[in-house]
Symmetry: C2
Subunit: 232 residues, 2 copies
DNA sequence: ATTGGAGATCGTCAGTTGACGACTTGTTTC
DNA sequence: GAAACAAGTCGTCAACTGACGATCTCCAAT
């Protein structure tokens, strides 16, 4: 719970005279854009691990720079967090997923397996999940706002593709589409949460879990649509 | 993200003389055990809402007492949190669930619906879920330690009951049992997380979601066992 | 070499926060 | 009704934390 880190750098030695040659200074001088990127990247890891309330001093140490320098690149901690969020949470979503999922030249099962393989590598990572969870807990509404639209569209597409392939009418109500989609997506999300947040030991490899859940979803799709059509 | 609360009580007025009768003091004097229970209860709500890093002053205000008084009942904040966790996370699990789930006089579908109806009322509450998530994020391993054993036993029982009712051999490997059980339990957990942590708007009522997922689980159980038996 | 702009740090301030010694006040008991 | 005990509060301390003015130092262009 404590993000306090011990100081790594022994602190730049005060040169007795300007002519102290030979030993280079501890400072690493970076181009503005590189430094900025480095801070954002480290900050994503740092806040993912220790939460959004972790201290700027700890982050600075993790970056190997002084705390003051953070404020040259970001006016406030909140702004920094905002940018971390944009870069590390909303950023990783890929537009190709939409075109790949709707490529009807391949069977849907294959598409879904491929999609979730990529999704696990990109979104269902420790960093993404923990950041997302920290943000969701801290600020009601911030976390979903960036991502909910994308996720819901993915769900709609998955359900529409399944309906097409199985020759079933797509449910008209979008809420019902989402609910059906969540059957698969929620189960896999929860697997990722167990793994990266709860710290449950994992036995079955990712690919197997994905394959089983995808098969289960497609196998029960027809009756799921029927069930949801009956109920409100 | 800020748990700072404005002071509610206008602060006890300093009586000019001991004989100031008529107006009662603002202080509410409670029996030790009652006060302790009240603090634990309020603290569960408070930490669930603002996270485990929320301040003791805010909690005291929420309880309507001075911050100092907290330290009469709990030596440190960490001890308080530990007790909150025991009372509000591990406490609500009911032993009856095990006997009810294994009561083969009723069809499993009915048992599962009844079980999850109770589980949603007891465990899948905003308070429980948020506390559990805060604790999981803060301290790797603390959260599951109190509960994982109970949850995994529930999963084993559900899978065993399903196997019995459908006349399938129960998978020997416990990891496989858990993985199959998580199909249902994880999906419903994630529904609760969406609702109470992500703040997703909910359309379908709880009972319906439970019913559909239970039906989906039972309907696909036979093939799930088959799939997991094939794979490692 | 000189110079000046930009990368980087030091030191510090004001507000916060867990903790606690000293004190006050209500209630119970004889 | 006063003694004695426990519930409750005040005020404060030291460490922590976000923020920032002043300063230093590296490098490139002149």
């Amino acid at each position: 719970m404590n993000a306090q880190l011990t100081r790594l750098q022994p602190r730049a030695r005060k040169t007795t005279q300007g002519t102290a040659k030979g030993r280079k200074s501890d400072r690493t001088r970076m181009a503005s854009q590189d430094r900025r990127r480095q801070i954002l990247d480290k900050a994503a890891d740092f806040f993912a691990q220790y939460g959004l309330t972790a201290q700027t001093r700890g982050l600075a140490t993790a970056c190997g720079i002084s705390q003051r320098l953070l404020y040259r690149y970001f006016p406030t901690k909140d702004v920094l967090i905002e940018e971390v969020y944009r870069a590390a949470i909303a950023g990783p979503f890929k537009a190709v997923w939409f075109s790949e999922l709707s490529d009807r030249n391949k069977p849907l099962e294959e598409r879904l397996n491929h999609f979730y393989k990529d999704y696990f590598a990109t979104i269902f990572t420790s960093r993404w999940l923990r950041l997302f969870m920290h943000a969701s807990l801290a600020d009601v509404g911030m976390a979903p706002n960036y991502t909910s639209s994308m996720i819901l569209q993915l769900l709609e597409m998955i359900v529409a593709e399944a309906a097409c392939e199985q020759d079933v009418a797509t449910p008209l109500n979008k809420d019902v589409q989402h609910e059906i989609g969540w059957t698969l997506h929620g189960a896999l999300s929860h697997y990722a949460i167990r793994r990266h947040i709860y710290g449950f030991a994992q036995h079955a490899p990712e690919d197997t879990v994905v394959a089983v859940h995808v098969a289960h979803f497609l196998g029960g799709f027809r009756s799921a649509v029927a069930a949801w059509s009956r109920r409100p």
